[in-house]
Amino acid sequence: MVGSPAHPVDLAALIAATMLPFASFLAILVVTRGRPRLSAWLSIGSVTITLACSIALLALHSGLTTPIGFSADLIGSSGLNIPFGFLLDRLNLLMIVVVSTICFLVQVYSLGYMAGDPGFSRYYAFMSLFTWAMMSLAVSANLLQLYFFWELVGLSSYLLIGFWYEKFSATQAGKKAFVMTRAGDAAFFIGILLLFIHTGDLGIVNLDSRAALAGVPPSFITLSALLIFGGIVGKSAQFPLLTWLPDAMEGPTPVSALLHSATMVAAGVYLFARLFPFFSMSAVAMSVFLAIGTISMLLASTMAMVSRDIKKVWAFSTISQLGFMIMALGAGSYFAGVFHLTTHAGFKALLFLCSGVFIHRFETNDVYELSRLGAKRMLIPMVTMVLGAAALSGLPPLSGYFSKEAVMGSLAGLPNPVWLGAGLAGVFLTAYYSFRLIFILLFPRETAVTIPVGTPSPPPQAAGIPAGAPGAWAMAVPLIVLATITVVLGFFETPLKNFIGAGMLAGGSVGGEALSWTPLAALALALAGVGLAWVEFGRKGARQIGFVDRIPILHRLFAERWYIDRFYGLLVNLVIDRGISRLCYLNDRKVIDGGIDGLCEGAVESGRVMAVLQTGMVQYRLLAIFAVLALLALYFYY
């Protein structure tokens, strides 16, 4: 069934890696809610074990050829043979290592960041819940099991975004995130059901093998691929459902670093990679994925250019980088997507953690405020921030360059040049907005820079977090580790390619033959972007107003997130809330209730009439009796 059966050691490691965080979640919630310190160490302890296990598994099975599987029959209902179990192959191993490292680093970082917060133990409980859900999602063998943990990841993101539930905007953002991802999940769920009805078995290995799906009509494969892609759009905040990610910045910064940059949003791309052979069976679907990836990449980068909130900039950039990954995978290059996923997880987490340090120190999200308050004097976060931004824009020595180049290579392979052009434009914009931020931070301006009205000023962060010194090391160490990763990872491209590429099942072209000039063009555009940013923000005399800000209409368009938010607001409030449900409610109250209550009133009224009839004079009654008897006698003749 699923490759060679796992022998006990692997199984034990896997169970420890996934189940331990869940145990710590329950333990914290039930037992150690009172003692924050203990619950923090409990959660970090379970994460370290998870990290150790995943690294051990990676080391043990680096040479792995066939996927290892284990399955138990959990839901034994008759018609459904949905076995629950684990699946290990090269992609999983890489994914669980990435996830556990980032989780470990963020949890250590949160020791400092969240120190003194009243809900400290609750925070760690939700963190271990997320770790459990994400790890199990990564190793699940069955599409339904994946969906099971997929929704649990959505739940933990809801809980963590709305962590400071006193703030109305936080709970609002949490609700918005949950409902939007839920919309995506609904499509995913329908896709799974269709798949299950037609193929009868949801095992991922089974779905990927071309033989198993021979009998299934191609039009159906496209439909179910598109539906499953709906789930990816929801979770990775792609084009139609992207507005929840910037609002999700309401949550604490480590949460944004962990969930909304490295791991959770990457789950969508992971699913794409997971089902890559299945998706690649239908060319139509792949082109649709490519298109959506491109649109969301361009859209998000334009929004990033105008945003003043440091976290929102990185949120928009995450959406655009995810767009890049999906473009790469849509273009048919499996390795480029996965490699970019790994590197992006590294430097994006780094960027978020650095901005976390700034916010923690100066308690404001506004970039101009931060620079005026002297963000650049904090050495470690500033240097690592610059390093991260460079990696993001794809400057040579860093990992971003290599993965961006691999993506560009895959785009170049496509017959239609449009995708390549969009990709290059994206590279340019990425470089521009990331270094726009860096230069604003590096060159503070005393005068308050007037920005055309309309940009929503970011709400002040919960002021309850004192910038304590003891937490400093806890925040610094993860930054340094991540910085080294971003620098070093680039050079591992070839071994990773062999590891990922070779392990790939049949099918899937590994990066088209790279056109000679694309990497150079990409580098040139990146430098141009940096140059433009320097001209507008870095130079002594620059008035730190982006070229976009000069055109108010364009500025408002990007600031309003292309009015998508407004559209959703309209849809929910007017159409559903005030429109349909009011009609249904009225129908309930007036039509059904009215009708039946009216019937009862009618009965009571007729009762009153009957009662009055009784009180007539005696002789009328005699007459009535006689009349009825006569009628009955006459009735005989009919």
Binding site: V618, Q619, L622
Partner: protein
Amino acid sequence: MIAPFRDILLLAATLFALGAFCAVVRRNLIMIVLGIEIMLNAAAIVFVGASLHLNNLDGQTFVLFILAVAATEVSVGLAIIVYAFRRTGSFDPRHFNLLR
């Protein structure tokens, strides 16, 4: 048979209708009781006619009993009506409408 039984039935039916009409129309309690008496007699006539027609004496005995029972009925009825008259001073059924 002096007269065919059908004619007797016809006579009794008309008499019965007359009695009923009288009971329903007149606005005086005593006249109502009188109307009902007429209806009883109509029934008695049918009985007599039937017993003659069937040549068996049951009908006759029945009539004797009817007369006796009608007498008791009238006595009880008039007792109540006179009692009512002494209380309310009127025979008009329209006055007795207190119960709602």
